[in-house]
């Protein structure tokens, strides 16, 4: 007669699929789970019957739970149904000891039926199918319906940066073009900083966003390239969001059938030019960029 328990020592990365691979020989069946349609945050529950021995998990390296394969999943959390918790589910992180004064981080009791929950975050439009043995929930993605229109007055709809209108009297303040000597030899330089520069009139709004779908979403934006002389902002009369080249910055939530208008503004920092005989020899006064938008669906 064998032991009445089984110990699992996790020494490497711990994935949710890995756990179910380990316990597969001991689980009689899975049930009470459904496919889920979800945006960025997904939640599913299931139950399983352990018709065998007690199963103990040890995580000596205290590595966090992961999802494998990663696909479009950004994070995963595991829960055990437990009425003593306010949410009805006890979080199991596979690091915190499952029972006080014990070393194991998770236990599946023998000859029992227990229910669990899994929460993942993913790209809102991504569909994640997760299959192992008798457990194969699918997290169906939902698509966003966003329309955004560049103003017809913009010069180049693919490049917003074409339309800014700095105050060039600043150059004239720095260079005395009325001086005949300067005009003849054409040697001069200038350097200035100007904040909150709008697009050239008469463009009232650069972007017009409309949520034509059936889900509220958060609009975010990403700048395509870094520059030491230009900071790019999206906003309106009440706020300005400084865009980043590394992460999408949230701009605003847009509810179903709602339209919101935004402008793009820039700060030019220490832009400069130097001319020799009217020929440009040094130039930092360039600010070309593009903006990419993203939509993150909000939970109902």
């Amino acid at each position: 007669m064998g032991t009445r328990y089984k110990r699992f020592y996790i020494t490497g990365a711990l994935s949710i699929l890995g756990i179910f691979a380990l316990i597969a020989p001991f689980i009689e069946n899975y049930y009470d789970y459904e496919d889920v349609t979800c945006g960025t945050e997904c939640w599913t529950t299931f139950c399983m019957k352990n018709s065998n021995k007690n199963l103990y998990f040890y995580n000596k390296q205290e590595l966090p739970l992961t999802f494998d394969p990663v696909q479009s999943v950004h994070s995963v959390e595991f829960f055990k149904k437990d009425r003593r918790f306010k949410t009805g589910y006890r979080p199991i992180d596979f690091i915190t000891p499952y029972t006080k004064n014990r070393l194991y981080v998770f236990k599946i009791p023998a000859y029992s039926v227990t229910c669990y929950g899994i929460k993942i975050t993913k790209d809102s439009a991504a569909t994640v199918k997760w299959t192992f043995a008798g457990l194969d929930p699918t997290f169906f993605g939902v698509s966003a319906n966003l329309t955004f229109n560049l103003s017809a007055l913009l010069d180049d709809p693919n490049n917003v940066s074409q339309n800014f209108a700095p105050n060039w009297s600043r150059v004239l303040d720095l260079v005395n073009f009325s001086d005949n000597f300067t005009q003849v030899i054409g040697n001069f330089s200038w350097n200035f900083t100007e904040f909150n520069i709008s697009t050239a009139t008469p463009v009232p709004w650069v972007y017009n966003f409309t949520n034509t779908g059936n889900t509220n979403f958060t609009l975010s934006a990403l700048l395509n390239k870094t520059s030491t002389v230009v900071d790019v902002f999206i906003g309106n009369d009440t706020f300005r969001v400084n865009l980043s080249t590394t992460t999408f910055k949230d701009i605003v939530n847009i509810t179903v059938n709602e339209t919101k208008l935004f402008n793009v503004t820039i700060d030019l920092i220490n832009i400069s030019q130097e001319y020799d005989n009217w020929t440009l020899v040094k130039n930092t006064a360039e600010w070309g960029f593009n903006i990419t938008f993203n939509v993150t669906l909000l939970p109902d």
Partner: protein, 207 residues
Amino acid sequence: MTATRENKEALDVPDDTRLIETNRVNEKVQMEEGSSIIRRQTYGDAFILSSSQNGVLATDTLGASTRVTTTESIVNVNSVFREQFRDITFQDITQQNTADWDTSTGRLKMSSSSNHATVYNTIANFSSIALNDGTVATITLLADETKFGNDSIRYFLTADSGDTTYEEVFNNIEITLANTGIDMLARIIMVGNGGRDTFIENFRVMY
């Protein structure tokens, strides 16, 4: 103009062709007289038969010469110089010209580039636009300006042909020059990010 025509070609039917009837349209074509340039050309050492000075064999050159052409005067109708930028007659090629003197569109553009995400500081230099056409003391400059954003166009004129006596003048404002003279030149400086979308047309100087 209206036109009608009926033509029956059956042999036993007389031809009933009607002449084209026209309504005359009055057309008015406006013409602008440009500057008159009077030039003097010297004989140089060109051989001229029977000439006491240029008829010396083995000294004067047959078939070639060292003749020199000088501009004696540039006279403008009603003392108004007009530049439509359709030719480069008055572009001073001995000076810097970084602005785009575009004869195909008839525009003096800040630049030929369409890029608005950078800055241009460009210049256009005119050669003499009025010479020995009376003393220039007061002038009024006119130009049809098209400017992108906050671009700037600046005008400078001199009446005594000197590089050190250019004075700034402003569009459609009469200016009394500090230095009067008989040889007027112009210079235009453009600053901004408009590129080809900042330009002037129909440039005029009244004096």
